[in-house]
Amino acid sequence: MPKDKRLLSQPDINQTLVKLAGDIISCHSSPKEKDSLVLIGIHRRGVSLAKRLKAIIEKKIKRILPLGTLDITLYRDDLDTIGHLPVVKNTDIPVDLTDKSVVLVDDVLFTGRTIRSALNELAEFGRPKRIQLAVLIDRGHRELPICADYVGKTVQTKSDEIVMVRLKETDGTDEVVITKKPMHKAVKVN
């Protein structure tokens, strides 16, 4: 059984989100920027993180922020190659994104393919002025030319490791751990 290595505890996550919120506010400091800011969380944990960021930002700027949720399942480029189709969740974009400043929120930035799918989907809801990306963890191993604008923590990982973000809303606890991918029982030899 692989042993988990804890990267962030609950206070660390809270602190990281406060820092991310501060960075987003700094980048949207003008009244026009504040007005156009929209947070969009990517299912599942990106949605929980976006909700938390929304609460922190709203408290600081004393303004209600629109919050959307995005499910990228129908935009994945690997549906043909995976065995079982993922469960489709809801996409809910409450405002027209044309001329808005969108901050996409996700838990882990890895290959960049999820973000590519998210960008394709967002393009169908209008033409935002710009789209930025906020992630709790950047673990590297990019397969596409994508980078985040706001990063909570950058971690050097191996490709056979898994970064697991656990949040109270979805997992009952707040922590980020790094663990080894479980070994397959049988190795197929060509």
Binding site: L74, G83, V88
Partner: protein, 318 residues
Amino acid sequence: MTPDKKFVWTQTHLLGLENLSAQEITHILDTAESFKEISTRNIKKVPTLRGKVVVNMFVEPSTRTRMSFSLAAKRLSADVVDFSPSTSSLSKGETLKDTARNIEAMGIDIAIIRHTAPGTPHMLSRIIDASVINAGDGAHEHPTQGLLDIFTMREQKGRIKGLKVAVVGDIMHSRVARSNIWGLTKLGAEVIAVGPPTLIPQQIRELGVKIAYDIDKVIPEVDVINILRIQLERQRSKFFPTVREYARLFGINSERLRHAKKDVMIMHPGPINRGVEITPDVADGTHSVILRQVTNGLSVRMAVLYLVSGQPKAEEAE
């Protein structure tokens, strides 16, 4: 509404609701719920089935089901081919089996079939590798109609378990009735089949359905009245004396509805014979969800296309 995390969809075809579990039916309904949003977008299209080919094989006439499937497939970015028996080699005597094999040789991924003969989609699913969706096989099943009916009930009433549903009319010849009965009873609803004795087969009791011959006794106690089309083309067989008598004894009109629950829901799979099984004021009235059923049909069919498209075929999975 949240699907069980451990549940994994494993069906390659959708042949009927009889062979689906309650969990599988609920999974389709939950997936359809997520697809509803796509139809509200300015660009009503997602790339999910890009590169897949869907063939509409409607050997029996259809307007809304065929259009609904076409639109659903197009909204998922599939290429859609329509097949019409009158302009196909079927009219030259080619067997359906050969026609299907030839179409499959052109590289189709999903075949949607409607046929007058019960069991045709089941037969096709055994001879071609593509996924097969039953769009109505004789008087046997019409699973996507059953699913969209159940979806609409759940959407409007918030539940299926414990609902009392009257299915009114020609139960004997109705594939919609069978799919509704299988689906609803599996999800815990109580179904009452209502109509003239000549149009209700007694064996239907074996499916856990109550039978009633007097609509006025049933109306006050039900949450949903699902009205079936009276198949006028079958009236040569004289299952009831006259259409006028049927309308008087079983037609749903506003006078009858005065005795119904305030929030009773009126459903009809279409096409409607106005003035026969339902009066125009009821069909267009506040209790009616007939057009909502059509709208929901799109989401349900998108969900079904998505779900059957994803599984490796049996031989590949081994």
